[in-house]
Symmetry: C2
C-alpha cells in the first residue's frame, strides 16, 4: 500500500506492512515527481499543512517545532563558536529558520539536493523560507550533501552540521554510510557537533544498529536522543548527536538561560533534554552490541 | 471512517477526521460487541498482538511496557504505603501485572466494568492475566469504577488509584467528571496518589482543558506527565498524576535504586521521569488558563 487514495481523499503514510498513519487530504496543493522523489503537499483539517516525500510524512505546520527546534537548538548549545553552520537537506527551510534565531550564528549554508522541494516550500511554507532567505547570513546550495562535504573548500570549516534528510531507513541511506561520516567529520572543526535524524525505537529500531557503528568509527562521542516527534511513526523517535570532544556533547549545556536567549522556544526545557539523553533500558540493551 | 476494513485486511484506528493510524490484521482473534464496547483483537506482523476497544487502539504486546510501566511504577514511587492499590479499568491485566512486581504491595483490586474484556484477555494476553490472577494479593471486581469508589467500605482506603480506561476523550468521559474525582479522593488515604491516562498534546489537547479543572477542584497537586506512548495517536501522549500532599508528587522519588528494586523495568529512568514532569512551553501556555 503506497500513498494510496481511498475514495479520492485518504493518503497513507506507509511505514511497514502492518502499521502506518493515514491522513485525509482537504486540498492537495502539490503532487509532482521530481528527479529525486515524489513531493506531495496537502492541507488537512486538523493536522496542518503537510509535506510527504516519497510518501513518507516529512513535516507539518502543526508539529514542525517538535522536530526543528531540537535539530537546531541542541547542537547550537554544544558548539564553542557559531561561525559556520551547515544544514544538509532541510529543503523546507524549517531548521534554517530556527538556526537563524541565534543572533551569534555568522553563516548558515543549506545544501539541498532537490531544487523543486525548495521551490514548492517557498510557495507553500512561506514563513520558513522567508525567515531564511530574508536573512543575509543564509545561503542556499542546490546539490548533493554527500559531495558538498567532500569539497576542499569545506575542510575543517563547520562548527555544526545538521543532517535533516528524509528517513535514513528508506530514501536517505547514503547519509548513514561510514564514508559519509568520514567526510562530514573532515568538514567540521575539531570541536564541531553533528546532529542527524535517526529512527523510531520500536518499529524501525534496526536502523540504529546500522547507523551507530558507522558514526562511532569517526565520532567517538555519540548519543541517541530519544525525542518524541508527533506524526512520525510511533512518535517514539530519535535523533543522534555526535562529536569528537567529550566535553561538547553535554545535555547540561542546554540551560534555561540558553533556551530563554533564543526566544519563543516551544518544545524544549533543560530537564526534557536531560531526559532525551537518558536511554531507557530496553533501548540501551538493544544497541548494546554496537556502542 | 470507523474501523473500516479495506479489502478485508486493514483496520483503522480513527483519531479524528484527518489523521489516524492503520494496522493490517494478520489474523483477527476476537471481534465481538459487548454490552459496553466493541472488542477487536488481532495479530499483526510487526506491531504485535493488538486490542482495540470501540475501534481505538488500546494495547499491543510490543508497546505495553511504555504505557503500563509509568502507570504502575510512577505512582508507587510516590505513596508512603502500599497497603491497598486500586486499578479502575485495566481489564487486560497489564497494569496489574506490573503493580504486582512490587513485593511490598499488600492488596491490589482491579475494578473492570466489562467482564468480556477480562475473559478475552485471559485467553489472548495470558501472560498478564496469569501474573495477576496467579498472585494471592490480587482481586478482581466486575463493576463500574464510578460506583466502586462510592462504596462505604472503600472510604479512605487506597494508597494509590490507577485509572486505566479507554480514552477519556471518547468512551470514558465519566472518568474525568468532577464528581468522579470527588469520589476517588474520598476513597483514598490523605496521602494517596492518583494516576490516570490523559490525552496527546497536539491533536486531542482540548481534553486537558476539561480534565484539569475537574481534577484541581479535589487534588491541589496535579501534574501532567508527558510520556511518549508508541502507537497512541501522535505518540506525544500524557498521563496525569495528582494528590493532596505536595511532598508526595515529586519526580525525585523515582530514583535509580527504586527502579532497580522493581526489576526488569524497560522504559523508565529517573532522568526520563524528570523530563516528563517538565512541561514544554507550548503546553504550559496551552493549559495556563486552567492550572
Amino acid at each position: 500500500m503506497n500513498a494510496e487514495k481511498i475514495d479520492g481523499t485518504y493518503i497513507f503514510d506507509e511505514s511497514l506492512s502492518s502499521y502506518g498513519n493515514f491522513f485525509k487530504a482537504g486540498k492537495i496543493l502539490v503532487d509532482i515527481t521530481t528527479a529525486y522523489q515524489k513531493i506531495l503537499i496537502m492541507d488537512t483539517s486538523d493536522a496542518g499543512r503537510i509535506m510527504f516525500l516519497d510518501n513518507d510524512f516529512n513535516v507539518s505546520t502543526i508539529m514542525e517545532s517538535f522536530y526543528h527546534e531540537p535539530m537546531a537548538h541542541i547542537p547550537l548549545a554544544m558548539v564553542n563558536q557559531k561561525e559556520n553552520i551547515l544544514i544538509i537537506g532541510g529543503g523546507d527551510f524549517g531548521v534554517a529558520s530556527h538556526v537563524l534565531k541565534h543572533k551569534d550564528v555568522r553563516h548558515l549554508v543549506m545544501c539541498e539536493i532537490d531544487e523543486q522541494v525548495v521551490q514548492v516550500c517557498r510557495r507553500y511554507f512561506p514563513d520558513w523560507a522567508g525567515k531564511a532567505e530574508g536573512d543575509p547570513r543564509f545561503s542556499l546550495v542546490i546539490g548533493d550533501g554527500i559531495e558538498f562535504v567532500k569539497k576542499p573548500g569545506n575542510k575543517a570549516k563547520f562548527d555544526a552540521v545538521i543532517i535533516d534528510s528524509t528517513d535514513p531507513f528508506s530514501s536517505a541511506r547514503g547519509l548513514i554510510a561510514e564514508s559519509f561520516y568520514a567526510d562530514v567529520k573532515a568538514s567540521m572543526k575539531p570541536d564541531g557537533v553533528l546532529i542527524q535524524i535517526g529512527a523510531d525505537t520500536v518499529i524501525y529500531k534496526k536502523l540504529w544498529l546500522e547507523m551507530i557503528p558507522n558514526i562511532r568509527k569517526h565520532f567517538p562521542f555519540f548519543y541517541p536522543l530519544l525525542v518524541p516527534i508527533p506524526f512520525y511513526v510511533t512518535g517514539a523517535w530519535g535523533l543522534v548527536i555526535a562529536g569528537s570532544e567529550e566535553s561538547s556533547i553535554d545535555p547540561a549545556r542546554v540551560t534555561g538561560e540558553y533556551i530563554n536567549s533564543i526566544g519563543n522556544v516551544k518544545t524544549i526545557t533543560p530537564d526534557m533534554v536531560k531526559g532525551w539523553f537518558s536511554l531507557p533500558p530496553y533501548f540501551k540493551e538493544y544497541i548494546s552490541g554496537v556502542v
